[in-house]
Amino acid sequence: MSEKGMNLTLRIWRQKDSNAKGQMVDYKVTEISEHMSFLEMMDVLNEQLVAKGEEPVAFDHDCREGICGMCSMYINGEAHGPDRGVTTCQLHMRMFKDGDTITIEPFRAAAFPVIKDLVVDRTSFDRIQHAGGYISVNTSGNTQDANALPISKHAADEAMDAATCIGCGACVATCKNSSAMLFVGAKVSQYALLPQGQVEAADRVKNMVAQMDLEGFGNCTNTGACEIECPKGISLENIARMNRELMKANI
């Protein structure tokens, strides 16, 4: 790569609002440094568009350090782009080379309707959480001492691994069936692995799965794509655990 940086063609989904018909539009950006993050490259494009008096590309982003789960781009046919274990904001331009054409689309799923350009509505995830993504404990401050109930390190670590999900929706976007099982499985697992979660375990898994189905997410066919594309490496094991939990809840 030259000192001057990369020249790229960006093929981006533009859609005025949720009712409009969208289409792919090509843009050129020049002198992109390999040290830039992907979203910083998008900033460059947007500054360019603003300067020309055009509307910049709307995209979701916030923390830009891979934890808030807001950013959500489908880059060159993959959720969060070609790198592994990263969100779009952590993807760096060193993954691309001069002259590349980069295709950028919103996360697609019937349950994730496009709001504008690359921004999608993921409130279906919230509604699944409302259905049971909690332990019913009041915030009185009178709960028992935190160390009164020892939890094996193994269980705590596994629960943490499941809880590390950032709710970005890459699993759904990647899944050929637009299934949300990895997301729901992770939440069900976190609580299923902890003693605090046992009391409501049966109702939780039933209600969350029912809401997931109601939202119009597809059925898991175990392709495993979600696990590969998940920026937080949430394991397929969580889906298996959810399946078990649901079977248990129904017996």
Binding site: P82, I228, E237, I239, N243
Partner: protein, 225 residues
Amino acid sequence: MGGFFKSSIGRKVAMALSAFFLMVFLLQHFAINLLSVFNPDLFNEVSHFMGTNPLVQFALQPVLIFGVVFHFIMGFVLEIKNKKAQGVAYVKNNGAANSTWMSRNMIWSGAAILAFIVLHFIDFWIPEINTKYIQGDWSGTLEGVEGFRYYEELTHKFVSPIRVGAYVLAFVFLALHLLHGFTSAFQSVGATAGRKKTLQNIGKAYSIIIPLGFIFIALYHHFNH
């Protein structure tokens, strides 16, 4: 429990259970067919038993047919639902980056297997039903053939190179279907990660050996008769 099988997870469990049943059936079918290579007489006897035993005929056979039909219909229903869940398709989608061809194309390998089963029914099952239930011939014998007729019928079918070619191709699809389907079924019923590695290996072995065996049998009879 009724609600369970209406849920997405219930459906995948049902898919998995029917798959388990079919995989067990496939194993016994393979074992019997293999006899045709090593011991035609025994093959004939076992075939006759399977073809005339009331338990097999009136209990297992309907279950099998139900299993096959259920697996296919459910497979197509889920595929349609999943297509609907997808909404707008991607302009560019790099599925190969994160999943196997087999896992993404179960519907196509499944459809190929379905086509094969139709052929298979025309070849064996329909004549068999015709002989037994319409013509009422439960003897298992054929004029001009010594002993039971099954071995003779089998070898006869593998004369045509086109049919053998179709069989081989179908079993390649079966292998592809199983390569994903075997472990997928276990995952669906919640098999844990600890057992996964072993399962994967067993799955691979099963998915390759069984179809390869069927192909071997077809080719063996083709070239030996």
